[in-house]
Symmetry: C2
Subunit: 100 residues, 2 copies
């Protein structure tokens, strides 16, 4: 059960405010050295555009000869309570890349 | 030909830095008073997350009883030359909402 959880986490990359190339390298490594078949790139709010940047750079530059397919893009929104105690909605994205 | 062009433009909303509710109202109006069957919400770069915010608010709040379907999400990237003369890539998104 723990193993399964770990495995799933490894195949999910959450995009936030680390240097851009950290995320690109992370996704590339999962596909190349770790042999992943599928990677999910997730982001919330302002990091959503960054998640798409990562996906585009990985698929069209770094792994362009490796048949990486953009399998699915899901969007949704979540409600959370901010520091001022107000309920706010934030959009989320999940981009699934798959190695054919 | 010109009419066709205009019609297509009317059904496309480009998200940028106007007040958020302008875009929400724009999409809602197209579906309600203009009778559009399909609306494409487009954005580039940092405005991508905003495009998803607009889509979520329109579909889940303003028009939640109107059977608006999230038909398709496309992402891509474009190269352009910035002010410093360097070639830069920018991600783009196109979200198609459809009235059933």
């Amino acid at each position: 059960m723990a193993e399964k959880g770990n495995k799933r986490d490894e195949n999910t990359i959450f995009i936030a405010n680390k240097p851009f190339m950290n995320y690109v390298t992370g996704v590339v490594m999962q596909f190349t050295t770790k042999g992943a078949k599928e990677i999910v790139i997730k982001a919330r709010g302002k990091f959503i555009s960054r998640a798409i940047d990562v996906e585009e750079v990985v698929r069209k530059k770094f792994l362009k000869d490796q048949n990486i397919e953009l399998k699915e893009i899901k969007v949704d929104s979540e409600e959370f309570t901010n520091k001022e105690g107000r309920k706010v909605n934030v959009s989320i994205i999940e981009i699934t890349l798959s190695k054919k």
